[in-house]
Subunit: 310 residues, 2 copies
């Protein structure tokens, strides 16, 4: 079982409108709802790849109830979201049908109490020791959760002997990296914020020196750069896939974790992550991937080894 | 007991954002949720005035569950919303903190099945005969409900001897008026659409000839014009109140109904409706009224009788 942690889970709502005009009234022509937050997106992709997943984090209020209802219908995902007194946040994506452009509105999320956070840490430890083959810690922290939360969760995973991947940003990333996670997967902005370096190769190496065993930096449509104990690789998709990049990073995380638990060598993990990521961009539905595109791209991702830098 | 009908009830959500920019990502700084749809707004104002209210219509899905939860905490409102298979719609008002301007997004609402509609009509008849002193039919029709629905509901109320007020627009209003409701309360646009006349005095008289016993036309900040069996009146607020006009029309409906069940003469009903409407504009919270403003304005609304036109 792979464990995913989504402390600030969300109900992702997509509205389609003919055209978004500020200060006007709009009739929404299509409403799509689904469980969201990076960890739940990763869980869904892992399940689609055939892995058993346990999803933990918090869910509360009426939106949280919707999340539980939806997860009940997801094959291979065990719902281990814990109750929180406040309501799970909504994220709203307003898609302009004329241009395809998206306007995003994100609610802040419920405030997690010290007691709720303590209960979570206990459950997390039990889940890790109950047979987790890997754990992904994903996304932003909700109000009330201490900024060093991920650092603590990384240490607990290491103590339990479970490989841990961290995908977050800002100060929670900075502190989490120092706790020596097995993998961090920052994008270019997160990497620059973490290291102060804007040159990707340099920034990736700097991030690794801060504590992460492996740093897999997302270069957007240009693929992934990985600096690992086994070497440094650049993995590039064979063609530029056009579409909706929402969730592409979460699919890359799922690809990396999936490859990790299957004990694939790094080049194969990276090829899987890049192919999944591109197949997600190709899907019109945010966060889903086109299986045939994934299969097609998988063998064609170019993974090249780079010489170790000074 | 006053009965309010809200066939397309809503969960009204208000988001405050620093500034709404299309195609950008926004952090929502404040989220407010409350039961909505015109009939539920009218119910809340009637309850605030001290009337016992029964609120019927439809509620379904997780948003419907939220509606039931909220109504449980409203004093003097009995929740008689019937189940519908689909989910109650959300309406989203995005308030730009910088300018105060509002961008509105309305979901379409659940499709009501023929069986659900038949159950509603039975319950409605029972509620009318179970001691309703008046009934308000308010707002748009959800998908699946026939366009002549309000006409049928007006006839049922008349057969039960219960005075009926209709507040809707378009074809449902046109058909409803022909069924001879006691009061219709169109705004200027609805009136022009109904009659083809753009001059308010003419349009109000034309609307009455189509079947309504009394037509109370909303003139926005200029007050109300009423053409009734007892005479024609113009009711004007003493000062122009600035603020948020959302829900002002629903407060006017509550004022008219409240005056009707208390058997007040028309000038007093109109003064009450205009004062409530202006006190609603004065409230920063959409759909609520400032009690002290209402009390203050009530005695100062100018109600003038007009000579009957040819």
């Amino acid at each position: 079982m792979i464990l995913t942690v989504t402390l600030n889970a969300a109900l992702d709502i997509t509205y389609r409108v003919p055209a978004l005009t500020p200060h006007a009234s709009h009739r929404v022509t299509e409403v799509i709802e689904r469980p969201g937050g990076k960890g739940l997106n990763v869980a869904r992709v892992l399940a689609a790849l055939g892995h058993d997943v346990t999803a933990t984090g918090f869910a509360g209020g009426d939106t949280g109830r919707t999340l539980h209802d939806r997860l009940r219908h997801e094959p291979r995902i065990t719902d281990a979201l814990l109750p929180v007194d406040g309501a799970t946040r909504r994220t709203l994506a307003i898609v302009d049908a004329a241009t395809g452009d998206t306007t995003q509105l994100n609610e802040p999320g419920p405030t997690v109490s010290p007691a709720e956070w303590a209960t979570f840490r206990e459950t997390y430890d039990e889940l890790l020791r109950g047979g987790a083959s890997a754990v992904a810690l994903c996304g932003s922290l909700p109000p009330g959760v201490p900024v060093g939360a991920y650092a603590g969760l990384v240490r607990t995973a290491r103590a339990a002997g479970v490989p841990v991947l961290l995908d977050t940003s800002g100060e929670p990333l900075r502190r989490g990296v120092a706790a020596r996670p097995d993998i961090v997967k920052p994008n270019a902005d997160e990497l620059a914020e973490l290291t102060g370096a804007h040159e990707p190769a340099q920034a990736t190496r700097d991030a690794r020196r801060r504590g992460a065993q492996a740093v897999v930096a997302s270069l957007g449509a240009k693929g992934l750069r990985a600096v690992t104990p086994d070497g440094t690789w650049l993995a590039v998709p064979p063609t530029r896939v056009r579409g909706n990049p929402t969730g592409a990073g979460d699919s890359a995380v799922a690809g990396l974790l999936s490859g990790l638990v299957e004990e694939l060598p790094w080049p194969e993990r990276l090829a899987r992550a890049v192919a999944l990521s591109a197949a997600t961009v190709a899907s019109p539905v945010a966060g889903e991937f086109v299986a045939s595109t994934y299969e097609d791209l998988l063998a064609r991702v170019a993974v090249t080894r780079e010489a170790a830098a000074a």
